[in-house]
């Protein structure tokens, strides 16, 4: 059996056009052996969630530098719930003050990777999180 590749959707919700980070992370995850579905800019939460479901993604990575993180994380997580897809891991990064991180995690985000996080940390975390998720599925 071929190995089960990790599939990640990398998305930029809303109107923010700064995609350097999203692209660097996408490349790094590709170099770590993952299949990255890169959706590009100006995605609505609905588009992101439908994409993740169609692509049978293990995780969704959200990049937000515009300060609208609380709004978008909450929308995406609730849409996943509505679609019975809460097993899809949600993580993200961008310009997110430390004080906002606890509420995002409480909402259901798996991790927030702030500025300066090495991409290797992100990749390793994802591998671990996906392995745990898959364990739960087989049980």
């Amino acid at each position: 059996m071929a190995e089960k590749k990790i599939r990640v959707v990398i998305a930029k919700p809303g109107l923010d056009g700064h995609d350097r980070g999203a692209k660097v992370v996408a490349r790094a995850l590709r170099d770590a052996g993952m299949e990255v579905i890169y959706t590009g800019l100006r995605q609505t939460p609905e588009q992101i969630v439908d994409t993740a479901i169609q692509e049978d993604a293990d995780a969704i990575g959200i990049s937000i530098l515009s300060g609208a993180h609380s709004f978008y994380f909450s929308k995406i997580i609730s849409l996943l719930k509505d679609n019975n897809a809460s097993d899809i891991i949600v993580f993200g990064g961008g310009v997110i003050p430390e004080s906002d991180i606890p509420s995002l995690l409480e909402m259901g985000a798996g991790a927030i990777f702030g500025p300066g996080t090495p991409t290797s940390v992100c990749a390793k975390w994802l591998e671990k999180a996906v392995a745990e998720k898959r364990q739960k599925e087989t049980v």
Partner: protein
């Protein structure tokens, strides 16, 4: 230096002695690295000497400030006559809150305003558009109509203050609003001074707030050139930007190359429309990044000035000196700021600002220390401004012009950056110009490769970022006092929009919008007067851009990863 030419043999002898000594030292202690590079990957020698500038010719390569090719500066007395404009980019929430911040900055000594708009405004959406949800007022001020603009400039005299507006795709609309505010204040358009960024090419390349496809976008841009040269002559109609290209990850040479290549595309488009480069050339301005590598940055600005002068003269036959000069605004590099140990950012910004000043910038924005995390608080923006003031009044560097000229390393780097940048521009020329290069993804690919290489360098500790991959400390910044944008901005804007629409002459608005639609289909018509008319009657930005979206279509990004 000309004396050095005669002494070259003697110098070379001394160098041999020096290099022999170096060998001995290296045996005992190797250098910190095998090879040294600038931030932009240019090779940096151990030491530079006259032999690096064998063919140096002062008049040809540098000349005096205000003289072609303007390497040493755009104007004869530069900062001795007038310091650079201290222009802090600001805006958030709604017009009232931003107006307060502008009046604070003016009271603290800022000498020009710089408006940051929120993303819906930048992308031509009103605050009540579904795509605007969650975004109103977050990265800049929310402006839906002239009503908001009037509040934004309340008690700010437009005949005394110059304003730069960072607006691109809908620049025509915001400029129209500014002109109308001036009207209401009794300031005629020909007295207004300021800049609109209006640089759509870099949006496609690096910034992402485009609306329409390239062709109609260039039409709008050149309409503005034409309109302003007759009606708003003191206005800088474009700020051709390299800042964002650098922020997206490019090297210093690429920053210059791609910016000047964009400039070439704009000049060509304007020429095609029948405009005279000797005239509109005077109102082109540029916008660069001030990044970490101090020596390279200073050299970069000088190379840019010399290159643009040569391009305008040789490629476009421009004879008017004012139209040959590259005037620019600089912003310190946002992407260099760290979330870790934020106070360190004050030091970073200081060095970056110093490089920009030594490079001869016309205006400068210094970032605040907390900007890796949020928009600047009042306290930190104050420090950012003071940084400029201390450089201006205490460091002495502004008291003589282009002080680093003649330095062996600075002149060598200036030459090298020019050479590298010209290679890129030649390739772009061969491809058919910047519009083709962008479509093919040539520009984007280079930038992304550079960005990825830099990230690899940091993760392998080849590049050091203090506090991030070296000299880290245990810290807890959870309680940092950061600016929080009021979440109710969107709600309030939507309420105000509704009220405003009820109180305006909706029939007139409809007519003005249809006139815009008609003009959009006729390339020979200049759209500015019609946009001003619509704006004056309180048509919203979203309504105007909605018509243009229907007529011009929307751009979808080109992905090369």
């Amino acid at each position: 230096m000309t004396d050095d030419k005669k002494n070259i043999p003697e110098i070379m002898e001394q160098r041999k002695k020096y290099e022999a000594k170096v060998e001995k030292v290296l045996e005992k202690r190797p250098e910190r690295r095998k090879e040294f590079h600038t931030g932009g990957n240019l090779h940096l020698k151990r030491v530079y000497d006259p032999s690096d500038l064998k063919d140096f010719n002062y008049v040809q390569d540098l000349n005096y400030p205000g003289e072609y090719p303007f390497t040493r500066g755009v104007q004869p007395t530069l900062y001795r006559g007038r310091l650079w404009t201290m222009r802090q980019y600001a805006g958030f929430g709604n017009a009232e809150e931003s107006n307060e911040r502008y009046r604070y900055l003016l009271s603290q000594g800022t000498t020009g305003l710089s408006v940051a708009f929120d993303l819906p405004t930048q992308i031509g959406y009103d605050s009540d558009h579904p795509m605007a949800q969650g975004e109103c007022g977050k990265v800049g001020v929310a402006i839906d109509s002239l009503a908001d603009m009037e509040v934004l400039f309340n008690e700010i005299p437009l005949d005394k203050v110059s304003t730069s507006m960072t607006i691109n795709a809908p620049a025509s609309v915001l400029l129209a609003m500014y002109i109308c505010v001036g009207e209401k204040q009794g300031v005629p358009a020909n007295q207004l001074a300021g800049t609109i960024q209006n640089d759509i090419l870099k949006e496609y390349i690096a910034r992402g707030t485009y609306i329409f496809p390239p062709k109609p976008s260039m039409r709008l841009i050149t309409d503005i050139f034409e309109f302003c040269s007759k009606n708003v002559p003191k206005w800088n109609t474009i700020s051709i930007s390299g800042y964002h290209i650098r922020e997206a990850g490019s090297t210093a040479a690429q920053e210059i190359a791609f910016t000047l290549a964009d400039g070439i595309a704009y000049v060509e488009a304007a020429k095609k429309k029948g405009l005279d480069p000797n005239v509109f050339g005077k109102r082109l301005s540029f916008f660069f990044n001030a990044h970490n590598d101090f020596l390279e940055e200073v050299a970069k600005y000088r190379a840019a000035r010399r290159m643009w002068a040569q391009i305008m003269k040789e490629r476009f036959g421009v004879t008017d000196q004012k139209a040959q000069t590259l005037r620019f605004h600089t912003q310190t590099g946002g992407s260099t700021l760290t979330a870790q140990q934020p106070e360190n950012n004050i030091v970073r910004v200081t060095l970056q600002a110093l490089a920009a000043v030594l490079g001869g910038t016309q205006s400068l924005h210094t970032n605040s220390m907390d900007e890796a995390l949020a928009l600047p608080s009042e306290k930190s923006v104050g420090i950012a401004l003071k940084t400029q003031q201390i450089i201006a009044y205490e460091s002495g560097v502004a008291n003589t012009i282009d002080p680093l000229a003649g330095s062996y390393v600075i002149e060598s780097l200036t030459n090298e950056i020019q050479q590298k940048a010209e290679e890129y521009i030649n390739q772009i020329d061969d491809m058919g110009g910047m519009l083709v290069a962008i479509e093919k993804g040539y520009v984007q690919k280079h930038i992304q490769d550079a960005a990825y290489a830099y990230q690899r360098a940091i993760e392998t500790n080849d590049a050091i970022v203090v506090g991030v991959n070296k000299f880290q400390i245990e810290e807890n910044n959870k309680d940092m006092k950061l600016l929080k944008v009021d979440e109710t901005v969107g709600e309030r804007q939507i309420k105000n929009l509704k009220k405003m629409k009820e109180n305006r002459d909706n029939i007139k608005v409809h007519d003005t919008l249809e006139a815009i639609r008609k003009a959009a289909r006729d390339e020979s018509q200049n759209m500015m007067p019609l946009i001003i008319d619509a704006v004056r009657n309180y048509a919203t930005e979203g309504e105007i851009c909605g018509i243009l979206r229907e007529e011009f279509g929307e751009y979808t990004e080109n992905i090369i990863l």
